[in-house]
């Protein structure tokens, strides 16, 4: 009987294609939003986790502002999203002071300079021009594909190391080593090209290293008249990072005159911060998706109630030839499910097309997994059942004689 109901439901959808498609719209939008958001969030988390695993647990991140709230034992209890908007309180003095801390093996700052770079063949406005030190490749396990990274002594030399996207977009070649790149009106010589990285916006350096142009920290300071240090990365000497955190905190409190306007974060804490931000974003968009699904569900209920009225005679015939109330109920619920599951599948297909676009034209890597698809189908089924129950009950309870008259 179920296969009969499914066939009847598909027949019913096919007999009024446009109406069915318009009815599904709310569900399609809702499912597309849910799948896209969850997959994007999942993709970002995976990128971050991948990077963190690559870095190892002895790398610490210092960021400006109090990003997290902690309890008395130092455990992270919450994330302060507004702290991301603070202007940087980290300075070159902090970097120098941290280099002298015993428990710290290596320190490298990441100072944002500008996003515009140009060469003789064109200009790019979405690059990450960052000032950093020679310790960066070691800290981030970031290898250089062509040429070399700049050395400690290169502070006053105008050298730059670029990511693969910059090499491709600005020079249309894999290895533009030796060519010049213009940053804020100053020409720099490209000394090396980084290997492709899978880092994303929310990753450790908040930098897409494929689109990065790295210059010596001293050069960055001269270009921007004062530095805008986004974060400082450091490596602890021992795998027990607690001692290093204590020392770093003490040192920074000294340079900040006792004012704690910075955060020292372990890898897993940073992951927690990223997860928190992603979850909040996902939650917000999911709320929008839920509203869309609610409206879509009400639309489906409305159309199905109209359909029950229009098909009164058919219901009467089915009852006269022996359909029980439950069989009529099932038939209409299956029809509602066909609408929502159909809408859900269309939503998933649209999401896949969106992902294709995102992968082709951005550096976001959304991840669609079987659980996400099952979740989409499950949501569609739940919406279908909830919103088709009322019309199905109305159909099932129809009096056969009145229904046969078409009332």
């Amino acid at each position: 009987m179920f296969s009969g109901n499914v066939k009847a439901a598909i027949n019913s959808l096919r007999s009024s294609k446009w109406r069915s498609l318009l009815t599904m719209t709310g569900v399609i939008i809702g499912i597309t939003l849910v799948v896209t958001t969850v997959s994007l969030g999942e993709g970002l988390k995976r990128q971050v986790v991948g990077q963190m695993n690559q870095l190892g647990s002895d790398v610490l991140t210092i960021r400006s502002g109090k990003l997290v709230s902690r309890d008395s034992r130092g455990k992270v209890t919450g994330v302060n999203v507004l702290a991301f908007l603070d202007s940087s309180t980290l300075t070159a003095k902090d970097v120098s002071a941290l280099k002298n801390v015993d428990s710290v093996k290596a320190v490298t700052p990441l100072a944002f300079v500008t996003s515009s770079v140009s060469s003789s063949s064109g200009q790019l406005d979405n690059a990450y021009v960052m000032g950093t030190s020679s310790a960066l490749p070691e800290l981030l396990h970031q290898k250089v594909a062509y040429g070399d990274f700049f050395t400690n002594e290169a502070g006053n030399q105008k050298f730059a190391v670029v990511g693969t996207s910059i090499a491709h977009k600005l020079y249309d070649e894999l290895n533009p080593t030796g060519r010049s790149i213009s940053i804020a009106g100053e020409d720099y010589i490209i000394r090396g090209v980084l290997e492709p990285s899978n880092g994303g916006l929310l990753s450790i350096g908040q930098t897409d290293f494929n689109s990065a142009v790295l210059v010596p920290f001293e050069q960055a300071a001269s270009l921007t008249e004062g530095t805008n240090i986004v974060q400082i990365l450091l490596k602890s000497k021992s795998s027990d990072t607690d001692a290093a955190i204590r020392d770093v905190r003490r040192t920074l409190l000294a340079t900040h005159r006792g004012h704690e306007d910075f955060s020292v974060l372990k890898q897993e804490e940073l992951l927690g911060v990223v997860n928190n931000v992603v979850n909040k974003m996902t939650g917000f968009v999911s709320a929008l998706a839920a509203i869309s699904l609610l409206i879509g569900g009400i639309g489906i209920m409305d159309i199905m109630l109209a359909s029950v009225s229009e098909r009164g005679r058919e219901i009467g015939i089915r009852k006269a030839i022996g359909a029980t109330n439950r069989q009529i109920l099932n038939q209409f619920i299956v029809e509602g499910l066909a609408l929502t599951v159909g809408g859900g599948l269309i939503g998933v297909i649209i999401s896949l097309l969106i992902f294709l676009g995102l992968r082709l034209y951005t550096n976001l890597n959304p991840v669609i997994t079987v659980p996400i698809m099952l979740m989409a189908v499950f949501v569609a089924i739940v919406v279908g059942v909830i919103f088709s129950i009322a019309p199905a009950l109305k159909a099932a309870r129809k009096d056969p004689i009145q229904a046969l008259r078409g009332d």
């Binding site: 009987m1 296969s3 009969g4 009847a8 027949n11 058919e314 009852k319 029980t324 004689i401 046969l404």
Partner: protein, 292 residues
């Protein structure tokens, strides 16, 4: 043993002053294998009687025994299953589901029985073969002629091998040729031992029945056993004195309506037919029948 037994069955529609007595303490026993034609004017309760026998409706009072088991107060699901297994319906307007092809329409009762698609399609195909409609299996109802549609509806009614066939004016929408084809089909079904209850306004069709019931104002006013092939006596009377509306009747109706309106009086008296003229009309209509 009686297949159908109605005892003092009444059906009242509506409440209070707006209530209508559709059936008035009807007693009826139908034996297995009978072909019962039910005749009577519109509003006499024929369809209500069939709806109650077909378990589409419940009597307000009285009892209904199907195979000596009371069925009138059964739960809806149980009644639906009895309709599915024991009763086949044929309607005046065929009532095929327009979105399903002929094969699916005929197979539908089997689907509600839980039969697998292949089995029910095979059974439906065999049934369509029996009524010479196999070549129309994949036609939609709108692509069939009236006679074919009604034959498909009969096939659907027969697919579950029901013990009772209920036909409510099955030839009402058919021309004389298709009516004959459909009635021959009913005769064939009857010969195979099925019980048939047929509502009709056409006295000619009583030739196929072996019992004719006459209804008026919700009561059975006549019950006549007749030989198959011959016109029932009561039906013959109806046939020859078919009610014909005259100008006189129309005026009488209008004057009845105007009775309560003050200041309006009917001035023109209707012309009355003379007894001689009435006889002449009756003779003319009898001659017409004989010439058929």
């Amino acid at each position: 043993m009686a297949l159908i037994g109605l005892r003092e069955v009444s059906k009242i529609y509506g409440f209070g002053e707006a209530s209508t007595l559709a059936l008035d303490e009807v007693d009826l026993v139908v034996e297995k294998g009978e072909f019962v034609a039910v005749m009577g004017p519109s509003g006499s309760g024929k369809t209500t009687l069939l709806n109650i026998i077909g378990l589409l409706d419940r009597p307000t009072h009285g009892s209904y025994l199907l195979d000596n088991r009371p069925v009138a107060r059964l739960r809806q699901t149980r009644q639906a299953k009895l309709r599915r297994d024991r009763i086949g319906f044929v309607f005046q307007s065929y009532n095929l589901i327009q979105r399903l092809n002929v094969l699916d329409n005929v197979a539908l009762p089997l689907a509600y029985k839980g039969m697998t698609p292949v089995k029910r399609w095979r059974a439906a195909s065999d049934m369509l073969e029996r009524i010479s409609m196999r070549d129309r299996e994949y036609f939609l109802p709108r692509h069939l002629s009236s006679g074919q549609a009604q034959r498909a509806a009969i096939a659907r009614a027969l697919i579950n091998k029901p013990s009772i066939i209920i036909a409510d004016e099955p030839t009402g929408n058919l021309d004389s040729f298709d009516s004959k084809v459909v009635m021959e089909l009913f005769a064939d079904i009857h010969r195979q031992g099925n019980t048939i209850l047929l509502v009709t306004h056409n006295p000619e069709l009583t030739r196929y029945a072996n019992r004719v019931i006459y209804m008026s104002d919700g009561m059975i006013v006549g019950d006549e056993r007749t030989a198959i092939g011959s016109l029932a006596r009561g039906a013959r009377r109806i046939y020859f004195s078919r009610y014909r509306r005259t100008a006189e009747d129309i005026t009488a109706g209008v004057s009845a309506l105007m009775h309560d309106v003050p200041g309006k009086e009917i001035t023109d008296k209707p012309k009355r037919r003379t007894p001689a003229k009435r006889k002449k009309t009756a003779r003319r209509s009898r001659r017409k029948v004989l010439s058929r």
